[in-house]
């Protein structure tokens, strides 16, 4: 039976992982996600799981690597500076082809920055899995319920592609409270898979988890195999949500907490007679490029709203390929775009015509 409770985003994320059968968590405290390790420390032992506080994020992600290689559903969470430190381990996880989930509750940066909400790790998340040709499949929930649901889906996606999956949210989503519908906690899947290490190796061929390929052709082949999985994810694990006018003149594109703000603004603009539609990618990599290209051929203008200096907008522009003008409305450094900011911008854009050469 599912029950509805009031939870912080951090707690929903942690409970979502436990409900999805995650039994191992390795992490290092950093604001604004401390409630995740705290929740794990309290609740993982209830289900026979292990919470371990690592000496650093470098160590945490490498513990995740070991646990994943041993077949566990395993997770870590951090915020921006800690995610920077995890890049090395993520690269090995990509290269060694093992699954795990990493949560990034993004805060203001660069440097030590601040603990305010930000979306300025967009490139780090969608481009980065450290060095080399790998990336993180990245999903961006926009509510407490979605954090709970998506962390669970993230494990399935990670295991499907034997790759790291990043849940990308921010300081607001991490700390705000909302009602959340909980499922009963599921049992973890068995540790043993054909590729995992551990258990009794005398009954099978010994397994090796490795990312060292000195033969260039072999390394290229591995990279092509990894890319093929990303292509498959583009077909099978691409997620976006649309709302607003069916025949928009302006398409608004935003993810995560920005999309939450844009929902209100798009509603208000439509009430004011400006036909707007919101496209909210949940999967940031894979990115809904084809869908964006379709809209770009139909709308007058596109407005991108993000809490960073123009990272997300680059993916939108790559998809739009100049078919229509793309404008950016952004705040950064811990500041948030308000529904008023976005509504005003939409009304201004509607007043400036024409937007495209027609």
């Amino acid at each position: 039976m599912s029950k509805r409770v009031l939870l912080r985003g951090n707690e929903a994320t942690a409970e979502g992982a436990i409900a999805a059968g995650c039994r191992f968590f390795f992490g290092y405290p950093i604001t604004p996600q401390n409630k995740i390790p705290e929740y794990m420390a309290q609740h993982l032992p209830e289900v026979g799981g292990v919470y371990l506080q690592a000496e650093s994020e470098l160590a945490a992600i490498n513990m995740v690597y070991g646990a994943a290689a041993a077949g566990a559903r395993v997770m870590t969470s951090s915020s921006s500076p800690g995610i920077s430190l995890m890049q090395e381990g993520l690269s090995y996880i990509v290269g060694a082809e093992v699954p795990c989930v990493v949560v990034n509750m993004v805060r203001g940066g660069p440097g030590l920055g601040n603990i305010g909400p930000a979306q300025s790790d967009y490139w780090l998340a969608t481009r980065g899995a450290g060095h080399g040709d790998g990336r993180c499949l990245t999903y961006a929930p926009y509510s407490v319920q979605e954090l709970y649901d998506w962390v669970g889906k993230a494990f399935e996606i990670a295991e499907r592609y034997r790759a790291p999956v990043m849940i990308l949210a921010d300081a607001i989503l991490a700390q705000m409270m909302e009602p959340c519908r909980l499922r009963p906690r599921a049992e973890p899947p068995p540790l043993d898979k054909p590729w995992t290490i551990g258990g009794d190796s005398s009954t099978r061929h010994r397994n090796i988890i490795n990312s060292l390929y000195v033969d260039h052709d072999e390394m290229e082949e591995v990279n092509r195999r990894i890319q093929a999985r990303y292509q498959q994810a583009m077909r099978d694990d691409l997620y976006y949500v649309e709302s607003g006018a069916d025949d928009p003149e302006i398409l608004v594109v935003a993810y995560g907490i920005s999309a939450r703000v844009c929902e209100t603004a798009v509603e208000r603009a439509n009430q004011a007679g400006v036909r707007c539609r919101l496209l909210r990618p949940i999967s940031l990599f894979p990115f809904p490029s084809a869908r964006l290209a379709e809209w770009a051929a139909q709308v007058r203008r596109i407005l991108v709203v993000e809490l960073s200096m123009g990272q997300f907008v680059e993916d939108v522009r790559l998809a739009v390929e100049g078919r229509c003008p793309v404008e950016l409305l952004n705040r950064t450094g811990g500041n948030v775009v308000t529904p008023e900011d976005v509504t005003t911008k939409l009304l201004d854009m509607a007043a400036e015509r024409p937007g495209r050469n027609e």
């Binding site: 551990g198 190796s201 988890i209």
Partner: protein, 267 residues
């Protein structure tokens, strides 16, 4: 094959062979390098303890990066210095498996110092084989944290000085005060007389893990004839004459036999 040869072969007796825990893959180590002896000793111990089927080898980054090809066990390759963290993740998921890391002095004492010290202080039930050859072998002979004062390396061309390179790090002495350590010893393979006691310490270290006593580490003072610029025999002599005064052989902690510090005495 003739009848007589066949009979002769039947009469032969195997008195020395490759341990089961080693694969048939030819090792890539330089002539005179003691990495190979260290592998053999670890493999013999795995055979004698009957734990091959449940052992997991963790290769680090250094000349022994291919350890996963040499040990005939489940294996994983870890990022430079992070092997004890990877071992932690594995052991927490698979407490019934025997998990050991094989790390050089660059890997363990430079980039991975935090990981090994914290694994020890958590009393992580893993075993570390620590190869101290006082140099970064794989990357062509640069200074390591364990490089001796005065020792010439490719990055201390006039010899290591305190002013420019700092002091050598004695890992075992440093770890002696960590309560999570169940077995801690420094050994060498520089002459036959040292080899048996080195193997005994390696066995004790694995026994510590099997008995769930906590963290175990055996430092093996090793040779790198290639980057020391010495012939294999000279390199072994160099260990005895130059390395052992800085890195004396000793069982520092032994909770396996309960003998405590210095239980096995100095060599």
């Amino acid at each position: 094959m003739s009848e007589t040869t066949h009979i002769q072969l039947d009469n032969l007796q195997v008195i020395y062979k490759k341990p089961d825990a080693l694969t048939d893959t030819p090792m890539r180590y330089c002539p005179g390098c003691t990495h190979g002896i260290a592998h053999r000793l670890v493999a013999e111990v795995i055979d004698e303890l009957g734990i091959k089927h449940r052992t997991i080898t963790i290769a680090s980054v250094g000349c022994s990066v291919y350890a996963y090809e040499y040990f005939d066990t489940d294996a994983i390759q870890a990022a430079h210095g992070r092997a004890p963290a990877v071992a932690t993740g594995i052991k927490r998921v698979r407490p019934d498996n025997i998990v050991f890391t094989y790390q050089g002095d660059g890997d363990l004492a430079a980039i991975g110092l935090a990981e090994v010290l914290h694994a020890a202080s958590r009393a992580e039930n893993i075993t570390v084989i620590f190869i101290n050859n006082a140099v970064f072998g794989m990357t062509q002979g640069q200074m390591a944290p364990t490089t001796l004062l005065g020792q010439k390396t490719t990055t201390t061309p006039t010899g290591r000085s305190v002013e420019r390179g700092g002091h050598p790090i004695n890992i075992c002495e440093m770890m002696t005060c960590i309560p999570g350590v169940a077995y801690l010893a420094r050994e060498t393979m520089a002459a036959p007389k040292y080899v048996n006691r080195a193997k005994r310490s390696i066995k004790r270290a694995f026994e510590a893990q099997i008995r769930g006593l906590g963290f175990s580490l055996v430092e093996l003072v090793s040779s790198c004839p290639t980057w020391w610029g010495l012939r294999p025999l000279e390199a072994l002599k160099h260990i005895e004459e130059k390395m052992l005064p800085q890195y004396p052989l000793k069982v520092f902690v032994d909770k396996v036999s309960g003998a405590g510090e210095g239980g096995e005495g100095n060599a």
